[in-house]
């Protein structure tokens, strides 16, 4: 068997193991060790084991990932979004589908304070979905809104996916953060437009319960609106004015979130333990996939598969459109099966050589990839956000109902993707202004 064949078989076996419920990092890592032992010998495999985990984990730039996760978990464990959500609602109530629009807006805000999509969807689903259901909203619309808007978490900075992409593809994380901003806002606006049009055409989607808050309720909501905007201001303001770097921003953000929580007297021992525990678990479960993926990178590189794959794609056409189409198909197919971080780390070893040799802008490509990965979070059969919401609501809304509600949002994501591909400036203008 040639090395290339080993590489292809290794990829197939890894995918099969993943489908059979073997943890993603373990499947990638083990296949790589076995594959390298087959192609060369066990010594090369031992060498890889000893040269990889320590040297990659011990990177300053990656330290931002756990810090942004911690920041997001502090926000959700201390209930930092509630005031903002209620206030947005006060002002958006008159719009068709006002509560759904409020939810999209609150998700966008929370996304700017959270590094991950699943964390965003999780925090918002506990508050926004019951609210919408109690107001007679269509069950699909209520859950679909949160599942889809949760995906803003990885596009609007900060974003763990963008950090991983940046460190892996050797692109500035600061630039990627800037680049994700407009596409994130654009996605939110397109969702909002779709909700308004749909509710206008079919008002029963948005229920019939009248919304008449008392003056006390209004005042209470406005009093507690400040925490999230303040946190976002501290983090983004600090980066823009140069008080700290995008890497340091994670630690500062987590710290600021704790200070804000303490000021609101919400920083209980329970909330702290919950936030730190979740951050440790998320970090470790992301990094074990990262380690598996780094093994997989070496295995594939040594097999020559990425180069053969890239040559095959480029032999058809070197047009950016063709390459993006090929990449999109890969992500949409695999995105049905694998969650976003696993998929990103699984595919980068194959796709980065392709991007390098085709001359596509790596920042722009990163944004497209993140958007594609986000679509994967809400496509059946494996849509992590969907499962998360289903779980958070104790199965009050069934999976098929949620997936049905998401269809419209998926269609909007395709529109957003096309716009982002047609107009690279939407992603590249902000970083070009700042750097």
């Amino acid at each position: 068997m040639s090395n290339l064949e080993v590489g292809i078989w290794g990829t197939v076996i890894a995918l099969a193991l993943i489908a059979l419920r073997v943890p993603v990092g373990l499947a990638l890592g083990l296949v790589s060790i076995a594959g390298i032992a087959v192609m060369f010998n066990m010594n090369v495999a031992w060498g890889m084991i000893s040269a990889t985990p320590f040297d990659y984990v011990g990177q300053w730039e990656l330290s931002a990932a756990p810090m942004f996760l911690l920041m997001g978990f502090i926000c959700s464990s201390t209930d930092m979004t509630r005031g903002l959500f209620l206030s947005l609602r006060l002002y958006l109530a008159r719009l068709p589908g006002g509560l759904a629009i409020t939810s999209v807006g609150a998700c966008a805000f929370f996304a700017a304070a959270s590094g991950s999509s699943v964390a965003t969807a999780s925090a918002m689903s506990r508050m926004a979905v019951p609210e919408m259901l109690n107001n007679g909203y269509d069950r699909g619309l209520a859950t679909g809104t949160i599942a889809a808007s949760g995906t803003l978490g990885s596009l609007i900075p900060p974003s763990v996916l963008l950090i991983l992409y940046g460190v892996y593809a050797q692109v500035s994380v600061g630039q990627l953060f800037m680049a994700g901003f407009i596409p994130g806002i654009l996605s939110a606006l397109i969702y909002i437009a779709m909700i308004m049009v749909r509710v206008k055409l079919k008002p029963e989607l948005a229920g019939t319960v009248a919304f008449n808050p008392t003056p006390e309720e209004r005042a209470a909501a406005l009093r507690d609106v400040w925490p999230l905007p303040t946190l976002i201001l501290v983090v983004l303001g600090g980066i823009f004015t140069g008080v700290f770097s995008p890497t340091e921003a994670g630690a500062l953000g987590a710290f600021a979130a704790m200070v804000i929580a303490a000021l609101r007297r919400k920083l209980t021992r329970g909330a702290m333990i919950e936030a730190v525990g979740q951050a440790v678990v998320s970090t470790a479960s992301i990094f074990i996939i990262l380690i598996g993926s780094l093994f997989f990178t070496r295995f594939l590189a040594l097999s020559g598969f990425p180069r053969a794959f890239s040559d095959a794609i480029l032999s058809v056409s070197t047009d950016a459109w063709w390459i993006l189409l090929a990449v999109a198909v890969i992500y949409l197919v695999l995105g049905m099966l694998i969650d976003s971080i696993g998929l990103l780390l699984l595919t980068l070893p194959i796709l980065i050589p392709l991007v390098d040799s085709s001359g596509i802008n790596a920042v722009w490509f990163g944004i497209i990839v993140i958007k594609l990965l986000e679509v994967g979070l809400i496509t059946p059969p494996i849509g992590l956000n969907v499962y998360m919401i289903n779980g958070a609501l104790n199965n009050r809304v069934t999976l098929p109902e949620i997936f049905r509600g998401i269809t419209w949002f998926l269609a909007m994501d395709i529109v957003t993707l096309l716009i982002l591909i047609l107009f690279p400036a939407l992603s590249l203008w902000l970083p070009s202004m700042a750097y």
């Binding site: 060369f40 010594n43 090369v44 031992w46 060498g47 890889m48 000893s50 040269a51 990889t52 040297d55 990659y56 300053w60 730039e61 892996y168 050797q170 500035s172 600061g174 004015t241 140069g242 008080v243 700290f244 770097s245 995008p246 890497t247 990178t297 070496r298 590189a301 040594l302 020559g304 180069r307 070893p349 980065i352 750097y435």
Partner: protein, 353 residues
Amino acid sequence: ETSFIANSFYDAAVPMSGEGYVKWAELVKELSDGELMPEVYTGTVLLAPRAALQGVRDNVAQVVHHAAIYTPSELPVANAVQELGFNYSDPVSTIFAVTDFSMNNTEQLAEWKDKGVVYLGAYTTPPYILMCSSPVRTLAEIKGKRVRTAGSAVSVWVEEVGGIPVNVPSSEMYTGLERGTLDCATNAASDLVDRSLLEVAEHTTLLHTGMYWSGPQWGYNPSFWAGLSETQRGVLMEASARSMARMVIAYAMKVENGLAKAEEAGGQVYEPAEDLAGSADEFRDRVLASVYDKAREQYGLENAEAVIDDFRGAMSKWQDLLAGVDLQDEDALTALAMEHIYNGIDPTTYGLE
């Protein structure tokens, strides 16, 4: 046909990877009539910078670039002579002298062998200079400035003159200068263009703060090396000689280009004022005076004097050899390297048991 994996962790825009690996691979194919087919990986995807030495020892790659400063405790001899980095500023004589020393000095050869690598040629950065967001020409001006330094000698000097040595990854240099968390970066002038530093560091001072050359530009896996024919080993030596000439020429052009582009963009390029230059000179003398002790105490070299003197001898030998040679002439530099280094190496025994 023998295909093998070659890895250099620099981006392909840097001569160590561009001339030293990408174009080197073409050269190797050509010189061997397609018998030797290197497959080149640049960047850190295959091997992290600190893992290159181990990667070649374990045969993950068959030839690697390894910067010995990343593994100070593994390569004491190479790091001991790197301590003199602050004291030299001519890349051409340095790249050949380091090769000459590294392929002939007994202690250094024993170190390569012990660490499982066959050394076949050097690299060197140009002398690092100061690129700053505000003018730093005098001792008064450097006081309180936050300077990104890479390595111990230069950071000691920065501290002595009242600056603050800061260690940030090179990937964060630009942001640091832009946001003001750094005032200066000490790096090669080519970074004015390659890392766009000219946008954020408008004041360049041509004060030489050291070159980096430690570790093999091409370090081969010993069993891979042993499996090659004599002719093939000869081809790789010739490829080393020519690629070193290409690297220093390309780097010199990049430095010139970086300074020119910086001035075009409205930046200033200064010579250091006497007090600043004098302080650096005085520091160099002290480095030289203490380098033997340092080699003995910090790096555990028993015959530190012999090793350091041998290295300094190679440096002066090459400064003499290059006097009157056109430093832009690739063929002339290649011929010199062949004549004074590689022709003296026996391909039937070098790097073998």
